[in-house]
């Protein structure tokens, strides 16, 4: 090949190589946030400094109280009554009969968290963020159950593992002396909490959901002297369930 030809070949080859490499040198990345539902847990009720007086007349002062949340699930609006019935039955519509620890999906957070129920009233604990597909959502399902050893927020020096609810303090009958007590429950439930339809999509990409626990009526119906430990635990757990609502923003 003539000298001029070899020179042209070399220039052309270098041009090709530089063209390819220059395109590749445009190292870049971009990120656009998607739909996100922030979930928080909030309690309203007497703090450690105050006292409960239940319907039975007992004055209750609480020194420690812990609640274990196991899951929060965002539920799409059901379009038919048939699907609502199916969803109520375990094992249908793709719902597992048992949920494993940290069973998560785009609409469910499944990491267990133990809360200090006596923290400042109104203070929120962030439970996480759900990243759901677009759609209309009408409720969340709040799950509580026994905490395991991997739960976040396990208090130091207090054995909450295996318990859904742990409350310690003292109770007084009118005119009586303080008597220490401990109420523990290993019960579990998933409580549906409905709200006005929230449509998530390109036009609305964020939602904030707060699970609100009204703890003022926790000890209503609890006979500290006439009932068993198990019965007291069940009663408080039932009051916890009845006093929970949801706030959506």
């Amino acid at each position: 090949m003539a000298k001029a030809g070899r020179f042209c070949v070399a220039i052309a080859a270098a041009t090709w190589a530089l063209l390819g490499l220059s395109v590749g040198a445009c190292d870049d990345h971009d990120h656009e946030e998607g739909l996100e539902v922030a979930v928080a847990l909030r309690a309203a009720g007497p703090s450690q400094a105050s006292a409960w007086v239940n319907r039975e007349g007992f004055t209750v002062r609480v020194t420690e109280a812990y609640v274990a949340t196991t899951s929060v699930e965002l539920v799409a609006c059901e379009t038919t009554a048939f699907r609502r019935v199916l969803r109520a039955l375990p094992g249908t519509l793709g719902e597992p009969l048992a949920r494993a620890h940290s069973a998560a999906s785009p609409t469910r957070l499944g990491d267990p968290v133990v809360e200090d129920a006596l923290r400042s009233p109104g203070a929120e604990v962030s439970y996480g963020a759900i990243k759901p597909p677009p759609g209309d959502y009408c409720s969340v399902r709040w799950g509580v159950g026994p905490a395991d050893g991997d739960a976040e927020g396990l208090p130091a020096g207090v054995d909450v593992v295996g318990k859904t609810l742990l409350i310690r303090g003292t109770y007084e009958k009118p005119g009586g002396a303080p008597v220490p007590f401990e109420i523990a429950s290993r019960g579990a439930f998933e409580l549906p909490l409905t709200f006005a339809v929230a449509r998530l999509g390109e036009d609305r990409r964020e939602l904030r959901v707060a699970i609100l626990r009204d703890q003022k009526a926790w000890f209503d119906g609890v006979d500290f002297e006439g009932s068993s430990d198990e019965a007291r635990g069940e009663r408080v757990l039932a009051n916890l369930r009845a006093g929970t609502s949801v706030e959506v923003r």
Binding site: A12, W16, L19, L21, V23, D27, L35, P106
Partner: protein, 303 residues
């Protein structure tokens, strides 16, 4: 004259748009998907003369959907440009260097969108002609193809220095050997090509290992005039299971068959353009995985 015309056809035959490869994570996007024999772009099918040098740019566009709808589905869009140089140090040996650049865009189930652009994994291939039916103007030839895809792509990170998800990485971080056989025939205005190449990926970024695969290509080209031809192509890919976090990836494995057409235009000597359209005609992919059509445009020049 006829020999020169046939060589030109063969050179035109050497340009094709082959489907790109990228590695994916099941429920992520298929990183090693795509079909076809990419050596058609730079090697051609005829036996080269010693010292032959060819450079090409091969652009491809494809889409891919992996994962379960409304659960973990990812929608991938990928644009890829391969800068290729092929050189024949001997008349029976052709060497190919491919430097890819990829732009990948992924849409997640919650409408989050992420994209990345960067250099992909460099690939080196060699083609050795084993047999041809006659020394001068061969009509049939058989060649063996070998090579390796090197895990050279720079890892992509976000502004905080965290690695981007595997579906956004332009490479696999693995060194993957490949081996195959090719057959070519030139009969007047008709050219035939068949290829079967196997790839055995190794473990790469974050323990991900792409699916081992066998890719086949069958093509038939008709040249209306020396400057223009049409080529019908079928590309098949048979995948084994990929590995993710030590377990078989749900949305990996299976078989896909693409059918399509290439249009080849050579306006001047040694310069060739190829436009390609391929669509999946058979999808028997495992898990939740669907591949979309492929579009391509390539240009090559023989020095």
């Amino acid at each position: 004259m006829k020999g020169a015309w046939l060589r030109k056809l063969a050179a035109a035959w050497g340009l094709t748009v082959a489907v790109g490869t990228t590695e994916i994570r099941p429920a992520a996007a298929c990183a090693a998907c795509g079909c076809g024999d990419p050596t058609l772009t730079a090697f051609g099918t005829e036996r080269p003369f010693a010292g032959r040098f060819r450079a090409s740019l091969d652009g491809r566009y494809r889409t891919d959907t992996v994962g379960q709808a409304r659960v973990d589905e990812l929608k991938l869009t990928e644009a890829r440009v391969d800068a290729q140089v092929a050189w024949a140090p001997l008349d029976r040996l052709f060497l190919l260097l491919t430097v890819p650049t990829l732009h990948r865009r992924v849409e997640y189930v919650n409408l989050a969108r992420r994209s990345s652009t960067g250099l992909g994994d460099v690939e080196i291939r060699g083609k050795v002609f084993l047999w041809q039916d006659r020394d001068f103007g061969p009509r049939h030839s058989i060649a063996v193809l070998g090579g390796v895809k090197l895990g050279t792509a720079p890892l992509q990170r976000d502004a905080g220095g965290k690695l981007l998800p595997i579906e956004l990485q332009p490479g696999t971080g693995s060194h993957d050997p490949l081996l195959g056989l090719q057959y070519a025939a030139t009969l007047d205005r008709v050219s035939l090509f068949a290829s079967a190449v196997g790839m055995a990926p190794t473990a790469g970024t974050e323990g991900f290992r792409a699916s081992p695969s066998v890719r086949t290509t069958f093509a038939a080209q008709y040249s209306f005039v020396p400057a223009f031809g049409l080529r019908a192509v079928t590309d098949g890919r048979l995948d084994g299971k990929g590995q993710e976090d030590g377990a078989a990836a749900r949305d990996s494995g299976g078989f896909v068959l693409f059918g399509g057409m290439d249009a080849l235009v050579s306006p001047v000597t040694d310069l060739l353009f190829v436009a390609t359209v391929k669509v999946p005609v058979v999808q028997a992919l495992q898990g939740f995985h669907r591949e979309g059509p492929l579009l391509g445009l390539a240009v090559a020049y023989d020095f």
